[in-house]
Symmetry: C2
């Protein structure tokens, strides 16, 4: 009956309309704006689907209605839709009502608590990528996956479908290594250290990172202080084949695009299930042909994962899904007792990284140590060091300058913007915070430091942020400077000072 | 911390932009289209919220981005948004990033399986009505209510919030009666019969009905053949105060507007939980100040409610929620063995109704009987008839012509388009279907009849549909005409014939 209805609609209700090309973005969903009268003729309503055809090219769009901006006989389509049709302004197109794709039925099954097969999850992810599913329908999928949960099978199917529906970068290497930190710790910029050491050891490590969404800096924001991070697919292939590594922003290339759309829909509710997180991380790794992956899960009271038990659950999930999709994944737990490194904010974090390679006296030892430990573990996994000797090997690569040379080789391939740590400019408005008594620093509140850096302007103001002069467990005397605050405007500096006065991030006892 | 962040954003990131007025509708959500550069300056992304202010007027909009159609310094806003700001094209407005309303947190709680308080449900429904919630967020609410279910308390809070956030029509009457059928049965046009009898008995019955969404005719589609159904709030008040009744399309007035938005979001998934259905029906009744309500639940294998057990569940829910919101509701179960009445499709159903009032020989007895029984029950509930004597009283009002006079009084007040049943034109393309053998009609498949009428063009083609010459349990001889098919085009007639040949709706044994 369903099918018959479709045939009926296809053959009977069809209009010839002229394109009115509109230039704005409507998320990923393609919207076709019809005059209300034409919408009536097609027997469609706002939110229904139409098929728009121009010769052999065909797109599915969601109907929106206009009373007069779009005239009778016109269809408003945005730039991407017009390109996909190989049309132009005023081209004639054929428009007809269309039924929902099968994927809508599968989403309904998920809403009703059913488990979805590989085929069904693939259909949903394809529908996200080819725009045949509307934002409302994708939201139902995300919401029902969140509430009803995803089984191990479903999570694996989802991961596979997500990378298979996007570009896959392939390199001239059998072993492609990668690392990922699930985040939630201020500073903690281990990526450049690990990439440099791994590549220096001869491993291929095409690292893509994200920009900040809610934190004072994402790895891509930090790297952008040092070099270009928006790099085309061809340039990535060239740079990695030449230097073995790269450190780019993942948003430029279309890797696992369904994942980006799902993240866009999760964003307003700030929800993120463990299953969705694991699928998202591992799909991105498969998109760059990764086969050996190190996952860093920081555990701490003020981090994303609060305790060992939660961490173990996430670890099991990473391991199970990795096994199913053919990834060798090692999960390590790290302690998140406070920020890692001294700088918080793009420029300040970039300076920390350069100082570590330079062996600068102020280089943060905690960040260096964490970077070396993770890099060492990766060397062991990829058989570049014997078990138990990875750290030693990583340290050697750092100390003898090979990691530093590799790091600059990659930076230069990506268009380096600086040549050493003293080139990095920090916000011109600054203030110092001093210890209110003698004692030992027992805790630096990760969450409060991050928030203060954001109020000061990070990540948008790259030179804004916080610089920790004293680290955890160090002794301080009254009136000694414990941290510095930087901003690019006096107003933001004052806001941040006000916030810090109400929310003291240093606990001295 | 949340609050401080808000203060920070309010005071620092603000742009003065000029309105570019756009004329199209984007559902209920207000969208503000920013040039990508301005979106960056405000540190907002697609889907984030902005506050748009012009003097004392202020709206919340969801951000969309444009590369060049909206220039730097402009903000694209649609007609409704510009009106709400009391602005015009090129007016200057102040735009700033805004945080999500508390309602978003309550929706997240519902996603996480929590029960929501009255205050929280009210905040969500207010957010739907004042457009401060985006389509994605409302979808999360609908999806999580569907998957996690709504408790009795939550359903009652939802019902109350829905009618309290819309217009409430008040009439000069202590008792306002109403009826509702949950649908799923072809034909079954009892509303005009019940309204006429109840009003003739002196009861106030301001009946609003819906148009078809998936069926071959909604009550409003049928009534539109006879009179005007799109009537303003003031005219409804005047007509009901004058005649005691009306029969209008509910879409013209803003009764329980949140309900309309929720239905819009349910539509693509074709989901409808019992709780949502009960809240929707009862909120609309409270919106017209109804206090005595009769609910008709047809039960049958091919109807919406398949068996008595499901029916009982729905009945309990109607009764519980009615009690909590101060409605006297009576639920009756009716048998749905097949279509009710002879005509299926707007004009054919309208003709059936007029013929019943006229006492025409072809008037469908089953529809007349059902109408009289339901009207009788309503007379008893409203104390216009003793218990057990309602049917007799309803029949008297029908037979002595008072119901007929009242019916025409209301039709005329609504601008009658016809004066008797022979004025009603039926589709000019027609064909007859004959019995393939002697026997008794055991079943007329409700679902197949409805689908065939839709393929023939109903409800858009008002004169299209099916007319049942022979009803259930009647004896037929081979080659006797059992039903007729009508359409407004030869093409649609042939499609419907093809469908009927593959899906025979008459079972003769």
């Amino acid at each position: 009956m369903h099918r018959l209805n479709f045939v009926y609609k296809r053959e009977v209700e069809q209009l010839k309309l002229k394109i009115k090309r509109l230039d704005w973005s409507t998320g990923n969903a393609i919207v076709g704006i019809l005059n209300t009268k034409d919408a009536g003729k097609l027997n469609t309503h706002r939110g229904d689907r139409i098929l728009v055809k121009k010769k052999k090219n065909c797109i599915i769009a969601t109907v929106d209605e206009s009373l007069s901006y779009i005239k009778e006989g016109e269809i408003g389509l945005n730039y991407e839709a017009v390109s996909a049709l190989k049309g132009k302004n005023k081209s004639e197109v054929e428009v007809e009502a269309s039924t929902a794709p099968d994927a809508v039925n599968y989403i309904r099954e998920k809403l009703n608590g059913e488990r979805l097969s590989k085929k069904k999850i693939q259909a949903i992810i394809e529908g996200i990528v080819d725009n045949s599913l509307s934002t409302i329908e994708i939201t139902y999928f995300v919401a029902s996956s969140y509430v009803n949960g995803l089984s191990l099978d479903e999570t694996a199917f989802l991961t596979e479908a997500m990378y298979q529906t996007g570009d896959i970068l392939r390199f001239n290497a059998k072993k492609v290594v990668d690392k990922h930190c699930i985040g939630g710790v201020a500073g903690n910029r281990t990526t450049p250290i690990i990439v440099a050491i791994a590549a220096a050891a001869g491993l291929t490590i095409p690292k893509s990172s994200s920009r900040s969404i809610t934190s004072p800096a994402g790895t891509a924001d930090v790297l952008e202080v040092l070099c270009n991070v928006e790099i085309s697919k061809n340039d990535i292939l060239r740079i990695v084949n030449q230097t073995k590594g790269c450190m780019i922003w993942g948003g430029t290339v279309s890797l696992a695009p369904a994942d980006d759309e799902i993240i866009r829909i999760e964003h307003p509710m700030n929800i993120d299930s463990l299953e969705q997180m694991v699928a998202s991380v591992l799909a991105k790794k498969k998109s760059v042909s990764g086969n050996i992956v190190l996952i860093d899960i920081p555990i701490g009271r003020y981090a994303k994962i609060k305790n060992r038990k939660e961490g173990e659950r996430l670890k099991r999930l990473f391991n199970s899904i990795s096994k199913r999709i053919g990834l060798e994944t090692e999960v390590v737990f790290t302690k998140a007792l406070g920020p890692i490194g001294r700088g918080i904010g793009p420029a300040l974090e970039a300076r920390d990284v350069l100082r570590i390679f330079e062996g600068h006296p102020e280089a943060p030892r905690d960040l260096r140590e964490k970077g070396l430990r993770l890099a060492g573990r990766l060397l062991e996994l990829a058989k570049k060091a014997k078990k138990g000797e990875g750290y030693k090997e990583a340290k050697k690569l750092m100390q003898d300058g090979r990691a530093n040379r590799k790091f600059w080789e990659i930076l230069k391939a990506q268009g380096a913007k600086v040549s050493n740590s003293s080139d990095i400019l920090i916000g011109k408005f600054r203030t110092r915070f001093r210890a209110e008594k003698d004692g030992k620093i027992r805790l630096i509140r990760n969450d409060l430091i991050a928030q203060a850096a954001k109020i000061a302007g990070a990540p948008k103001d790259k030179k804004a942020g916080i610089y920790l002069k004293k680290l955890r467990m160090e002794k301080v005397r009254k009136n000694q400077v414990v941290f510095e605050l930087y901003a690019e405007s006096r107003k933001k500096l004052q806001k941040a000072i006000k916030y810090i006065k109400q929310n003291n991030p240093y606990i001295i006892k």
